[in-house]
Symmetry: C2
């Protein structure tokens, strides 16, 4: 027996229809790379999306075809997202920061038929065109080509309808090993994620908000904000320019209340504000994700009356996993307790199930002390990578995030390491990330990497690789002395090796795989 | 081609699982009719729901069986909701304020197998038992029977899983004509409605909120709050006692921040606060629905710093249709403009499509002036009444709400009348509700009803039936003079007839059908 309510598939285009109809004149402001500011609104975005859908249909784009973009945040890109999805296509956002071989692999693997790109990335396009095997059309957003493409098209278009489980968007994740893998978002997963995102426990955006995602639209759908904004009916501010001054000016000029970015962006803004004596305007809430926010950053915002929410997620999770919204007893905590709490990763919204397990898959307690492999389940969590034969989940539907975490009794999650980076010493786990963070707090240390090396008794013991700051002569003894006040005694590295530099991925993460390969047979002097 | 995300049906029990796991110790406080206050939490509710599910299974309850309740708001009722749905049953909330014949019709039509009831309604149960044809078991919530039923049961139970379109809840609407009709909510419709409800544009509840629905749980699922609260992770305060003092005390004692009720409840509270000099404690937001809130009521709350959201909906809409959340330009409005806006019915959340049409079904403009029949569509809007042969919607999926409304260009909706009550004069519509509201503002008028009577030239003209206040000798001329300053000249009633009383439905609404039947052939003196 089925219930008596309506068949109303959760399709992405209904988000835009809602914004156009109910919040039509709410502004979409774009600051392009060249510095020009262009204003439109949800009515304008919807109109351009319909024109583009007509243009794409004219080019023979059919249901399920992949339409790629290589672009930063702006209104044309936004209209392109909705137009591409509206015509029944699968929008494929490509990260221009990847290596050439990865870009070529991704575009060919996705079988992209069209590529829309920013002028800023034209050199990439020119260089790789000969190697892109399936792209038939190239359209630049800023040189007039995009505007020309849609100019003569009709404003009328009926969005392609279909099952809510149909794909709508494709994002590749660049792991530290192997080829990038594609995550195929659905209409349903995207809409449910967006509905979860607007609630006060997550982003808390509404019709009064002015949201500026300083997350590129090629990073896990700009954390879903281009889909959440139409539900909220908020004003949306897009910038292709991430320079601190540009961000700060835009925040003031447009009255930004909510923003989201990775710590690197905020570091730049913090320095800019400190140097210029500027303030944060109307800013009320900032979401920090991508990697852990330093404590000083959290304090910087909180002291200025801006609520910080630490977020954790991944491309495979659309991307929201947890968000550090205020708990009910917030007002009873003192400032340091509040900062402690914000520095953890927060709680899951409804729609994400979360657990930790040991290496044998046994579920571990949520006791605030035990750490284990973090696994998730939910309607916006990956089931299977694009074109992969095997599911990405286990028989019970759990996806292993590759992170190691502690779950607290109040539901708060705390990341301690990546599971492949954790150092297993005598059956206990040592967090390589905590060791590294503690080490970079030592004067004279520019960067550090902790890796596990084989030990006859303990199985693995930590080796710390350190890049000294220019001109520094910091000694192993000084570093050990510093670490001793920060971590348990048995976590202290058995040896410290000074190196000239450490290897990184294209997106700036430490390339631990290379380090592990290089040092796995390192002979510890004390072993 | 389907996307790559997980199969995770939107089932109601996942709401409770989430609250138990992530917000387990957040309190559920119940003030029972006898005055005793009982405290539990989401862990306690989930445990009792599992025990009840075991008990129901022992009684032979199977998937799809109807389990009825005749009860006010309290924790046992809440555990009963989730236990009944968790065992795969369909929870059927019965409104104890209906007439005996309606109660008997509803219980027999639903084929209820069990009835849980409050001691306060025991006399109804005793009186109607002989006429209930399918109920096998009766369980009282307050005499120890409910606690006894679950006491020895196991805490372990795996909720019945299934398709998200399966029914979960049954609510009957008592129209002014014919038998009550059943609306069969689904797992999916309920979960999506709850997700929409927590957003700041609607109720805006989160982990820090303390929510007290003063809407009985038998009224359209207490406006969905028992399903939204687990998403928010808020504290929930339930009361079976609607006396103003009880409400005011509970608000203070429990730190209530969010509440929702019909205007009648607030009228009582306003008088109590005025008389006792009490305040509203921590109250931040109040949702008013069920019928239009008088302007003085809106001002009462807003002047005390409590944000009023006027809500409109109906059982057929789960029930949220529109909510008057703050628009983006709120701070630019002066106080009177703000109150004007709140007195309208607000905007649809994402998930409700809305339009107005004329009698021929032609879509009318959203111009802030034209009024038409209000139609809706969406995942939590009815498709078909329980056991009815015909769909409740037209070929394009639109449900006619029976209301007449104006849609403003900014998306705000304004109810002007019920479509069957509107008076059609010379092709134009006169709102019977506006005439009645204007008339009761005239000194000496206790109650008024406007009905259309046949007119040879204008088709219909308004006749105003007036009940004088005790001791009043107000004249037709005085009433017309009063009305002239409030409504258009051509809206003025052709005649005013004084009556001793007016007929009402069981829930206190004017019984316009009876009046129309009685007066349809009334001979207007001037016609």
């Amino acid at each position: 027996m089925l219930g008596g309510m309506q068949d109303w598939p959760l399709r992405i285009m209904r988000l835009l229809d809602h914004a156009e109809q109910e919040h039509g004149t709410r502004e979409i402001v774009s600051r392009y790379a060249a510095g020009d500011v262009v204003r439109t609104d949800w009515i304008g975005i919807a109109r351009d999306a319909r024109r583009l859908a007509n243009a794409l249909e004219r080019l023979g784009i059919e249901r399920g075809d992949r339409i790629a973009t290589l672009a930063m945040n702006h209104g044309r890109h936004l209209a392109c997202w909705y137009g591409a999805i509206g015509v029944g296509g699968v929008l494929h956002t490509i990260n221009p920061r990847l290596f050439d071989d990865q870009l070529v692999y991704i575009a060919n693997h996705a079988e992209d038929r069209i590529l829309f790109y920013d002028a800023a990335f034209a050199s990439i396009v020119e260089r790789l065109k000969p190697r892109f095997e399936t792209i038939e059309h190239y359209v630049c957003f800023d040189d007039g080509a995009f505007e020309h493409m849609i100019a003569a098209e009709s404003d009328a278009y009926s969005w392609v309808e279909g099952d809510e489980r149909e794909p709508a968007m494709l994002c590749y994740t660049s792991g530290t090993t192997g080829n990038p893998k594609g995550v195929l978002y659905e209409h349903r997963s995207t809409v449910i994620h967006a509905m979860a995102e607007v609630q006060p426990n997550v982003l808390g955006v509404c019709a009064r908000s002015v949201a500026m995602p300083i997350v590129p639209m090629f990073h896990a759908a700009a954390w879903g904000l281009p889909f959440a904004a139409p539900i909220a009916g908020c004003k949306l501010v897009c910038t292709a320019d991430y320079a601190p001054k540009a961000i700060c000016d835009l925040m003031h000029e447009e009255g930004v209340t909510h923003t989201a970015a990775v710590p690197t962006v905020w570091l730049g803004l913090m320095h800019y504000v400190d140097e210029t004596g500027s303030d944060l305007g109307d800013l009320k809430a900032v979401t920090i994700g991508g990697s852990a926010a330093p404590r000083a950053m959290v304090e910087f915002f909180e002291k200025r009356g801006v609520a910080v929410a630490h977020a954790w997620g991944m491309t495979e999770m659309s991307p929201i996993g947890t968000v550090g919204a205020r708990p009910h007893d917030w007002d009873t905590l003192d400032f340091d307790q509040q900062i402690d709490l914000i520095c953890k990763q927060g709680r899951v919204p409804f729609g994400v199930e979360m657990r930790i397990v040991d290496d044998e898959g046994q579920v571990l307690p949520r006791d605030g002390a035990t750490s284990g492999r973090l696994q998730v389940r939910g309607p916006w969590v990956i089931k299977q990578y694009f074109k992969e034969e095997q599911p990405a989940i286990d028989a019970d539907g759990w996806f292993d995030t590759g992170d190691v975490a502690i779950l607290h009794p109040d539901g708060v999650m705390q990341i301690t390491d990546r599971s492949k980076d954790v150092i297993k010493s005598g059956g206990e786990w040592i967090s390589s990330i905590e060791l590294e963070n503690a080490a970079v707090g030592c004067p004279g240390v520019a960067e550090a990497a902790a890796v596990g090396v084989h030990h006859p008794k303990w199985d693995e013991r930590p080796l710390l690789l350190v890049v000294r700051k220019e001109g520094s002569n910091v000694t192993p003894q000084e570093i050990i002395a510093h670490l001793s006040s920060q971590v348990a005694r048995w976590w202290l590295p058995d040896e410290i090796v000074f190196v000239e530099s450490l290897p990184h991925t294209a997106t700036g993460k430490l390339l631990k795989t290379a380090l592990r390969d290089q040092y796995k047979d390192y002979k510890l002097a004390a072993a």
